[in-house]
């Protein structure tokens, strides 16, 4: 059995080895981009059935951003929505026979976690400037600077390990069961794997929102603008 931590190169472009995870990632990216272009070309005021379905998806993403971050969804819709769509499609790409989800490899998850890490810095600087962003490390007191700095790295690392561990363990367990038992036995495990994949995509997006919202709300000039009472359940009417 192959190690889940290593990846075998599929083919080479020049000196660069291309693994199957990278190839699947490119196919998913192409499918998402071409699908988005094809859908947004023929937008109508009275939506067709397909357009209505995707409007529902966008509205759900908006509602989740509004509920989790307590701000308008417009600046974050593209990032969070793309993140969720990519991870969701990547996790469910195991439905196609012979395709291993790219998120079951460490390098794809590392790239996604790095994107979230950089996005937190980007949105933090955009909300409060460089000073405001750096000041978020000193909240609630300057004593917390080393801990806050460490947290921003460890939470990125845990984001990476969480997605990798969940998806990879699903693939691994199915591989083991398939080598032990026959044709129909792994199907319930595959169904569980699909559920895990959807939940992990949701959780990845929600945690990205929580990290960004934490940095943005701490980096604001006046902390009164964000209403902290609304975050405590039970206090709103």
């Amino acid at each position: 059995m192959n190690s889940p931590l290593s990846s075998i190169p599929l083919f080479h472009i020049g000196p660069v080895p291309i693994s199957s995870a990278v190839a699947v990632t490119w196919v998913i990216m192409a499918a998402l981009v071409l699908g988005a272009i094809a859908l947004s070309r023929c937008l109508k005021l009275v939506p067709s059935a397909t357009q209505a379905v995707f409007e529902l998806v966008v509205e759900t993403v908006d509602a989740q951003i509004r509920d989790t971050m307590r701000v308008g969804p417009a600046p974050y819709r593209a990032f969070i929505g793309t993140l969720f769509a990519f991870i969701f499609v990547a996790n469910w790409s195991s439905l196609i026979p012979g395709v291993e989800p790219p998120t079951a490899h460490l390098e794809t998850d590392a790239a996604l976690a790095l994107i979230v890490f950089l996005a937190v810095i980007w949105f933090g600087i955009r909300a409060g400037g460089v000073r405001g962003y750096l000041a978020t490390f000193a909240t609630p007191s300057p004593l917390m600077i080393p801990l806050n700095f460490l947290e921003s790295i460890t939470r990125t690392f845990s984001l990476l390990v969480r997605l990798f561990g969940n998806v990879m363990s699903g693939v691994f367990v199915i591989g083991i069961v398939l080598s032990l038992a026959g044709l129909l036995v792994p199907i319930p495990l595959m169904a569980l794997d699909l559920l895990t994949g959807a939940v992990q995509a949701y959780i990845f997006a929600v945690l990205a929102m929580v990290f960004i919202a934490g940095t943005v709300s701490e980096g604001k000039e006046d902390p009164e603008s964000s209403n902290p009472d609304s975050l405590i359940p039970g206090t709103h009417p």
Partner: protein
Amino acid sequence: MNWLALASIVSAAMAVSFGAIGPALAEGRAVAAAMDAIARQPEAANTISRTLFVGLAMIETMAIYCLVIALLLLFANPLLK
């Protein structure tokens, strides 16, 4: 098989088995508390279940860490190279 490989296999199994106990208990407590909260306040079910999912993911990460350590011991052990 030398004793180092044997120790790696035994400790990988122990890491997963003991590392799963704590998160299992914690997830049980978290779900029970969320059920209690939803039963008391059904109108807050959306907020509670969203927070519950994120919390469960946090708790589950502990078990996943143990799994990753076990896989490192089994497949990427630097002492066995």
